[in-house]
């Protein structure tokens, strides 16, 4: 038995139980396919290894009951760093329903900036086409919002809502609120425009098209 153990220690590939995993691991290194946690570190400067799973982020999160994976579990899955878990994180609903209220970060004893990590995970999840289907409406809203400011430099609420509804194919939600918004003078029909709107388009061109979304 002992002989067997030293043999395995010297030559891990002889261990039939671990060999498959080790081979896979080797293949990943060869492909220079770095794990998501390394990417998170490169792009946000945040070390997921700092997390010791106290759970304060999840306890304070106003939306943890809406999430499919709890915030502290997101960090745990990133720490493990397997391909399967990375995929699970990127295709989670959690990263999209997060409101960036910053409570988790404010309460984290290790000051892990989970909102910054989540921001990066969102852009990476879109880049790899892994975004959760349930989050379509939220993503459509973000896209309609950015589309609105890309065009005129300022948000045009009426245009935003129309743009969102066309994307979400949900034309009738909220129509009841619109008339009272108009009578209260809260909805305008003429968009405000930045004079130098070509500069705003340039900013979009030079950022969105040019990097991974992180640092």
């Amino acid at each position: 038995m002992q002989n067997n153990m030293t043999e395995i220690a010297e030559n891990p590939s002889k261990d039939t139980y671990y060999s498959n995993d080790l081979q896979k691991w080797g293949a990943e290194i060869k492909n220079k396919d770095i794990s998501l946690k390394e990417l998170v570190f490169n792009e946000t400067g945040e070390k997921v290894s700092l997390c010791y799973q106290c759970g304060k982020c999840t306890a304070g999160c106003p939306l943890s009951d809406e999430m499919d994976i709890a915030p502290n579990t997101i960090l745990r899955l990133l720490q493990i760093g397997s391909k399967e878990y990375d995929r699970k994180v990127l295709s989670s609903y959690t990263i999209w329903v997060c409101l960036s209220c910053e409570t988790c970060m404010a309460r984290c004893p290790k000051e892990v900036d989970l909102p910054a990590i989540t921001d990066f995970l969102r852009s990476e999840s879109i880049r790899r086409h892994l975004a959760n289907r349930k989050a379509n409406n939220i993503i459509n809203f973000h896209k309609a919002f950015l589309h609105s400011i890309r065009g005129s430099g300022r948000l045009y609420e009426f245009g935003l809502v129309i743009g969102y509804k066309l994307r979400a194919k949900n034309l009738f939600q909220d129509v009841l609120l619109a008339p009272s918004m108009i009578t209260h003078g809260k909805l305008k029909f003429i968009p405000a425009k930045v004079k130098n709107s070509s500069q705003i388009k340039e900013i979009f061109q030079k950022t969105i098209n040019n990097n991974r979304g992180g640092k």
Partner: protein, 304 residues
């Protein structure tokens, strides 16, 4: 005295009463608010959800223009804009890569020598002194001061001392004779960015805030953010749906109250823009059911 002013899209869109009241309050305190020329949207949640550099470049352009105009301080009344502008300035100061890359993106010189004030900073610094002897009996009401997320968090960005239980609004309101309640939801999130995509979540989060304020005997919720105010005020449908009962506790901007204390009328402070009505006139604090019914019938008329 002149101070820079970044209104942001909300104050020109869904929160005109916030801008009107802030400007009149500034005028009463002898401050001229100089709007940043040709300002653009800060990008809000959408930009930082999709691309970090975009979320820095959009606010940075505004700050660069303000600097060019010779402004030393900028007051940013929207808490979401405040957070994004502060974030951009902070990243510019701390991250060398941002400093190197920003210039060619925004095509404007930016040195990072500008100070950003939120509305509470502004009121404390420039308006508090003018509020001496402004205690008024008509204000003998209980307020629930609601800060929301981004005025206080993340603490390392906002430098707030009591980020979990701030007392700054309470101190300002005390000056005009308004007492505040002690409650648990003053820094809870209202649901902000999900207002359109997941209105049910806004109903739940804002509903909890409204319920706690009411349970603890508040007569009104006082806010300092157009996102919070619009969710708490306009989303009553979703909120009442979640709470399974009608609630008539109004949500009002802190600047509207201070404007009243300076002697402006409720019309000047655009009280008519609030969905849930509130009035301090004739010592008759009315936010009662009659008003609510009236408001509902008004909405019905419009629908027809």
């Amino acid at each position: 005295m002149k101070i820079g002013y970044f209104p942001g899209c909300s104050l020109h869109g869904t929160a005109p009463e916030y801008e009107a009241s802030l400007k009149l309050v500034a005028k009463a305190a002898d401050i001229e608010l100089v709007e940043i020329e040709d300002w653009n949207c800060c990008g809000a949640t959408a930009a930082h959800s999709m691309n970090r550099m975009l979320s820095i470049a959009l606010p940075a352009r505004n700050l660069a223009i303000a600097e060019k105009m010779g402004l030393e301080e900028v007051v940013v009344p929207c808490a979401a804009c405040y957070s994004r502008l502060l974030f951009a300035l902070n990243e510019f100061k701390l991250d060398e890569k941002v400093r190197m890359n920003l210039q060619p993106i925004i095509e404007t010189e930016f040195k990072g020598n500008i100070k950003i004030l939120n509305v509470l900073d502004f009121l404390e610094k420039y308006v508090m002194d003018a509020l001496k002897n402004k205690v008024d009996d008509k204000f003998k009401k209980k307020a629930a001061c609601y800060y929301g997320c981004l005025l206080v968090r993340p603490p390392k960005l906002t430098n707030s001392e009591r980020w979990d239980d701030p007392l700054r609004m309470e101190a300002i309101l005390k000056k005009i004779g308004i007492d505040s309640i002690d409650w648990s939801f003053k820094t809870e999130c209202c649901g902000a960015g999900l207002s359109i995509a997941r209105t049910d979540i806004v109903g739940k989060l804002s509903g909890k805030i409204i319920e706690d304020a009411k349970d603890r005997g508040a007569d009104m919720i006082v806010t300092a953010c157009p996102m919070c105010q619009s969710n708490l005020d306009m989303r009553r449908g979703a909120i009442n749906n979640y709470l399974k009962k009608d609630n008539n506790i109004p949500a009002i901007f802190i600047t509207q109250l201070i404007g009243l204390a300076f002697g402006y009328s409720e019309k000047d402070m655009q009280f008519d823009k609030l969905f849930v009505p509130i009035s301090f006139s004739n010592n008759n604090f009315s936010n009662n059911n009659d008003n609510l019914k009236m408001q509902k019938s008004k909405v019905k008329e419009v629908k027809v």
